[in-house]
Protein backbone atom coordinates (compact mmCIF):
# COMPACT_ATOMS: atom_id res chain seq x y z
CA UNK A 1 0.00 0.00 0.00
CA UNK A 2 3.01 2.29 0.47
CA UNK A 3 3.81 2.01 -3.23
CA UNK A 4 2.37 5.47 -3.76
CA UNK A 5 4.33 8.11 -1.82
CA UNK A 6 2.20 10.27 0.46
CA UNK A 7 3.19 13.40 -1.47
CA UNK A 8 1.38 12.19 -4.62
CA UNK A 9 -1.90 11.83 -2.74
CA UNK A 10 -1.36 15.28 -1.25
CA UNK A 11 -0.77 16.69 -4.75
CA UNK A 12 -4.11 15.25 -5.86
CA UNK A 13 -5.95 16.77 -2.90
CA UNK A 14 -4.17 20.11 -3.45
CA UNK A 15 -5.24 20.08 -7.10
CA UNK A 16 -8.83 19.35 -6.03
CA UNK A 17 -8.69 22.24 -3.54
CA UNK A 18 -7.52 24.71 -6.16
CA UNK A 19 -10.05 23.49 -8.73
CA UNK A 20 -12.72 24.30 -6.15
CA UNK A 21 -11.04 27.65 -5.55
CA UNK A 22 -11.17 28.40 -9.30
CA UNK A 23 -14.88 27.60 -9.35
CA UNK A 24 -15.45 29.87 -6.36
CA UNK A 25 -13.60 32.73 -8.09
CA UNK A 26 -15.22 32.50 -11.53
CA UNK A 27 -18.83 31.49 -10.80
CA UNK A 28 -21.42 34.05 -9.84
CA UNK A 29 -24.33 31.67 -9.39
CA UNK A 30 -24.92 30.73 -5.76
CA UNK A 31 -25.62 27.04 -6.39
CA UNK A 32 -22.42 26.55 -8.40
CA UNK A 33 -20.45 28.40 -5.73
CA UNK A 34 -21.90 25.97 -3.18
CA UNK A 35 -20.70 23.08 -5.36
CA UNK A 36 -17.18 24.57 -5.42
CA UNK A 37 -17.24 24.74 -1.61
CA UNK A 38 -18.20 21.06 -1.49
CA UNK A 39 -15.16 20.24 -3.65
CA UNK A 40 -12.89 22.17 -1.28
CA UNK A 41 -14.30 20.36 1.77
CA UNK A 42 -13.72 17.04 -0.02
CA UNK A 43 -10.05 17.79 -0.60
CA UNK A 44 -9.64 18.61 3.10
CA UNK A 45 -11.28 15.29 4.00
CA UNK A 46 -8.82 13.40 1.78
CA UNK A 47 -5.93 15.16 3.53
CA UNK A 48 -7.18 14.20 6.99
CA UNK A 49 -7.62 10.54 6.06
CA UNK A 50 -4.23 10.32 4.32
CA UNK A 51 -2.31 11.94 7.20
CA UNK A 52 -4.08 9.64 9.64
CA UNK A 53 -3.29 6.53 7.60
CA UNK A 54 0.33 7.25 6.67
CA UNK A 55 1.71 9.23 9.61
CA UNK A 56 -0.31 8.26 12.71
CA UNK A 57 -1.74 4.81 12.00
CA UNK A 58 -2.29 3.98 15.68
CA UNK A 59 -4.71 6.87 16.21
CA UNK A 60 -8.14 7.61 14.76
CA UNK A 61 -8.35 11.40 15.04
CA UNK A 62 -8.23 12.04 11.28
CA UNK A 63 -11.19 9.74 10.72
CA UNK A 64 -13.18 11.57 13.40
CA UNK A 65 -12.38 14.94 11.87
CA UNK A 66 -13.51 13.63 8.48
CA UNK A 67 -16.79 12.35 9.89
CA UNK A 68 -17.48 15.67 11.65
CA UNK A 69 -16.57 17.68 8.54
CA UNK A 70 -18.98 15.58 6.46
CA UNK A 71 -21.76 16.18 9.01
CA UNK A 72 -21.11 19.92 9.15
CA UNK A 73 -20.92 20.11 5.33
CA UNK A 74 -24.35 18.49 5.10
CA UNK A 75 -25.81 20.99 7.59
CA UNK A 76 -24.13 23.86 5.76
CA UNK A 77 -25.47 22.76 2.37
CA UNK A 78 -29.01 22.46 3.76
CA UNK A 79 -28.93 25.95 5.31
CA UNK A 80 -27.36 27.46 2.18
CA UNK A 81 -30.02 25.94 -0.05
CA UNK A 82 -32.79 27.23 2.23
CA UNK A 83 -31.30 30.72 1.99
CA UNK A 84 -30.96 30.40 -1.81
CA UNK A 85 -34.59 29.34 -2.22
CA UNK A 86 -35.77 32.21 -0.01
CA UNK A 87 -33.63 34.67 -1.99
CA UNK A 88 -35.02 33.34 -5.27
CA UNK A 89 -38.55 33.84 -3.97
CA UNK A 90 -37.86 37.50 -3.19
CA UNK A 91 -35.59 38.45 -6.11
CA UNK A 92 -36.24 35.89 -8.91
CA UNK A 93 -32.46 35.55 -9.21
CA UNK A 94 -29.66 33.74 -7.39
CA UNK A 95 -26.81 35.74 -8.85
CA UNK A 96 -24.57 37.14 -6.12
CA UNK A 97 -24.15 40.41 -8.00
CA UNK A 98 -27.87 41.10 -7.78
CA UNK A 99 -28.23 40.24 -4.10
CA UNK A 100 -27.31 43.62 -2.74
CA UNK A 101 -30.21 44.46 -0.46
CA UNK A 102 -28.14 44.08 2.70
CA UNK A 103 -25.14 45.95 1.30
CA UNK A 104 -23.88 48.64 3.71
Amino acid sequence: MNEIPISHILFVSTALFFIGMYGLFTRRNMITMLMAIELILNSVNINFVVFNKYLYPDKLDGIFFTIFIIAIAAAEAAVAIAIIINLYRNHQSIDVEEAEEMKF
Binding site: M21, R27, K53, L55, I70, A78, I84, N86, R89
Partner: protein
Amino acid sequence: MTASQIIFYLISAFMLGTAILAVTTRKIFRSAIWLLFSLIGTAALYFWLEVEFIAAVQIIVYVGGIVVLIIFSIFLTQQSGQRMAKAPITRVIASVLATIFGFSLTFLLISQHSFQLTEKPFDWTISKIGMQMLGTDRNGFALPLEVVSILLLAAMIGCIVIAIKSNPEEK
Protein backbone atom coordinates in the same frame (compact mmCIF):
# COMPACT_ATOMS: atom_id res chain seq x y z
CA MET B 1 4.06 0.10 -12.19
CA THR B 2 1.94 -2.24 -10.18
CA ALA B 3 -1.82 -2.54 -10.50
CA SER B 4 -2.39 -0.60 -7.29
CA GLN B 5 -0.45 2.39 -8.59
CA ILE B 6 -2.27 2.33 -11.93
CA ILE B 7 -5.62 2.23 -10.13
CA PHE B 8 -4.60 5.19 -7.96
CA TYR B 9 -3.64 7.33 -10.95
CA LEU B 10 -6.81 6.35 -12.82
CA ILE B 11 -8.99 7.30 -9.82
CA SER B 12 -7.14 10.60 -9.40
CA ALA B 13 -7.44 11.48 -13.09
CA PHE B 14 -11.17 10.66 -13.03
CA MET B 15 -11.73 12.73 -9.88
CA LEU B 16 -9.78 15.78 -11.06
CA GLY B 17 -11.17 15.66 -14.62
CA THR B 18 -14.78 15.55 -13.49
CA ALA B 19 -14.06 18.27 -10.90
CA ILE B 20 -12.65 20.54 -13.64
CA LEU B 21 -15.72 19.86 -15.79
CA ALA B 22 -17.97 20.62 -12.80
CA VAL B 23 -16.51 24.09 -12.32
CA THR B 24 -16.20 25.00 -16.02
CA THR B 25 -19.32 23.68 -17.76
CA ARG B 26 -21.94 26.33 -18.45
CA LYS B 27 -25.06 24.24 -18.01
CA ILE B 28 -25.88 24.12 -14.33
CA PHE B 29 -27.51 20.69 -14.33
CA ARG B 30 -24.49 19.12 -16.02
CA SER B 31 -22.32 20.83 -13.45
CA ALA B 32 -24.26 19.06 -10.68
CA ILE B 33 -23.88 15.69 -12.44
CA TRP B 34 -20.13 16.18 -12.88
CA LEU B 35 -19.92 17.06 -9.18
CA LEU B 36 -21.69 13.77 -8.47
CA PHE B 37 -19.04 11.86 -10.44
CA SER B 38 -16.24 13.72 -8.68
CA LEU B 39 -17.69 12.78 -5.27
CA ILE B 40 -17.96 9.14 -6.37
CA GLY B 41 -14.29 9.35 -7.42
CA THR B 42 -13.42 10.60 -3.93
CA ALA B 43 -15.29 7.65 -2.45
CA ALA B 44 -13.28 5.35 -4.76
CA LEU B 45 -10.09 6.95 -3.45
CA TYR B 46 -11.20 6.15 0.11
CA PHE B 47 -11.82 2.55 -0.98
CA TRP B 48 -8.32 2.49 -2.45
CA LEU B 49 -6.94 3.78 0.86
CA GLU B 50 -8.80 0.89 2.57
CA VAL B 51 -10.93 3.17 4.76
CA GLU B 52 -14.21 1.63 3.67
CA PHE B 53 -16.21 3.22 6.48
CA ILE B 54 -15.42 6.76 5.33
CA ALA B 55 -16.11 5.72 1.73
CA ALA B 56 -19.56 4.46 2.74
CA VAL B 57 -20.27 7.65 4.71
CA GLN B 58 -19.12 9.71 1.72
CA ILE B 59 -21.47 7.89 -0.65
CA ILE B 60 -24.44 8.02 1.74
CA VAL B 61 -24.12 11.67 2.81
CA TYR B 62 -22.62 13.40 -0.23
CA VAL B 63 -23.90 11.38 -3.18
CA GLY B 64 -27.19 10.40 -1.61
CA GLY B 65 -27.90 13.59 0.29
CA ILE B 66 -26.12 16.76 -0.76
CA VAL B 67 -26.15 16.21 -4.53
CA VAL B 68 -29.85 15.33 -4.49
CA LEU B 69 -30.50 18.50 -2.46
CA ILE B 70 -28.50 20.57 -4.97
CA ILE B 71 -30.39 19.06 -7.92
CA PHE B 72 -33.71 19.81 -6.23
CA SER B 73 -32.70 23.40 -5.63
CA ILE B 74 -31.63 23.73 -9.29
CA PHE B 75 -35.07 22.58 -10.39
CA LEU B 76 -36.72 24.99 -7.95
CA THR B 77 -34.74 28.06 -8.90
CA GLN B 78 -33.87 28.09 -12.60
CA GLN B 79 -34.26 26.75 -16.10
CA SER B 80 -31.75 23.93 -16.14
CA GLY B 81 -31.39 23.88 -19.93
CA GLN B 82 -30.30 27.50 -20.04
CA ARG B 83 -26.61 28.33 -20.34
CA MET B 84 -25.11 30.44 -17.61
CA ALA B 85 -23.46 33.73 -18.46
CA LYS B 86 -19.81 33.50 -19.36
CA ALA B 87 -17.39 34.91 -16.82
CA PRO B 88 -15.47 37.99 -17.99
CA ILE B 89 -12.09 37.14 -19.50
CA THR B 90 -10.16 39.27 -16.99
CA ARG B 91 -11.76 37.39 -14.10
CA VAL B 92 -10.92 34.03 -15.71
CA ILE B 93 -7.28 35.03 -16.27
CA ALA B 94 -6.93 36.37 -12.74
CA SER B 95 -8.50 33.22 -11.25
CA VAL B 96 -6.29 30.91 -13.31
CA LEU B 97 -3.17 32.83 -12.27
CA ALA B 98 -4.21 32.84 -8.60
CA THR B 99 -4.93 29.12 -8.56
CA ILE B 100 -1.74 28.24 -10.44
CA PHE B 101 0.41 30.31 -8.09
CA GLY B 102 -1.33 28.86 -5.05
CA PHE B 103 -0.98 25.34 -6.38
CA SER B 104 2.71 25.72 -7.19
CA LEU B 105 3.42 27.20 -3.75
CA THR B 106 1.70 24.28 -2.03
CA PHE B 107 3.39 21.85 -4.44
CA LEU B 108 6.81 23.21 -3.45
CA LEU B 109 5.98 23.05 0.26
CA ILE B 110 4.82 19.42 0.01
CA SER B 111 7.68 18.24 -2.21
CA GLN B 112 10.36 19.78 0.00
CA HIS B 113 8.91 18.49 3.25
CA SER B 114 10.11 15.06 4.36
CA PHE B 115 7.33 13.12 6.01
CA GLN B 116 8.25 10.67 8.76
CA LEU B 117 6.45 7.60 7.52
CA THR B 118 5.81 4.64 9.79
CA GLU B 119 5.48 1.06 8.66
CA LYS B 120 2.81 0.22 11.21
CA PRO B 121 -0.46 -1.01 9.70
CA PHE B 122 -3.49 1.24 9.97
CA ASP B 123 -5.83 -0.62 12.32
CA TRP B 124 -9.26 0.85 12.35
CA THR B 125 -12.42 -1.10 12.95
CA ILE B 126 -15.96 0.18 13.17
CA SER B 127 -16.22 -0.99 16.80
CA LYS B 128 -13.08 1.01 17.67
CA ILE B 129 -14.52 4.10 15.99
CA GLY B 130 -17.79 3.62 17.87
CA MET B 131 -16.11 3.12 21.25
CA GLN B 132 -13.97 6.22 20.84
CA MET B 133 -16.85 8.26 19.42
CA LEU B 134 -18.91 7.75 22.58
CA GLY B 135 -15.98 7.62 25.00
CA THR B 136 -15.80 10.19 27.79
CA ASP B 137 -12.14 9.63 28.67
CA ARG B 138 -9.19 11.67 27.40
CA ASN B 139 -9.41 10.47 23.79
CA GLY B 140 -13.18 10.28 23.62
CA PHE B 141 -15.29 12.31 21.22
CA ALA B 142 -18.57 12.32 23.18
CA LEU B 143 -18.71 16.13 23.56
CA PRO B 144 -18.07 16.92 19.84
CA LEU B 145 -20.68 14.32 18.93
CA GLU B 146 -23.27 16.06 21.13
CA VAL B 147 -22.27 19.46 19.75
CA VAL B 148 -22.66 18.20 16.17
CA SER B 149 -26.07 16.73 16.95
CA ILE B 150 -27.20 20.07 18.41
CA LEU B 151 -25.81 21.77 15.28
CA LEU B 152 -27.77 19.43 13.00
CA LEU B 153 -30.95 20.09 14.98
CA ALA B 154 -30.37 23.85 14.80
CA ALA B 155 -29.68 23.62 11.05
CA MET B 156 -32.86 21.62 10.51
CA ILE B 157 -35.02 24.12 12.41
CA GLY B 158 -33.23 27.02 10.73
CA CYS B 159 -33.87 25.60 7.26
CA ILE B 160 -37.58 25.21 7.98
CA VAL B 161 -37.83 28.75 9.37
CA ILE B 162 -35.91 30.32 6.47
CA ALA B 163 -37.55 28.42 3.62
CA ILE B 164 -41.13 28.40 4.97
CA LYS B 165 -43.66 30.11 2.72
CA SER B 166 -45.16 33.15 4.43
CA ASN B 167 -48.82 34.00 3.91
CA PRO B 168 -49.44 36.10 0.80
CA GLU B 169 -51.51 38.69 2.72
CA GLU B 170 -48.59 39.36 5.04
CA LYS B 171 -46.41 40.49 2.16
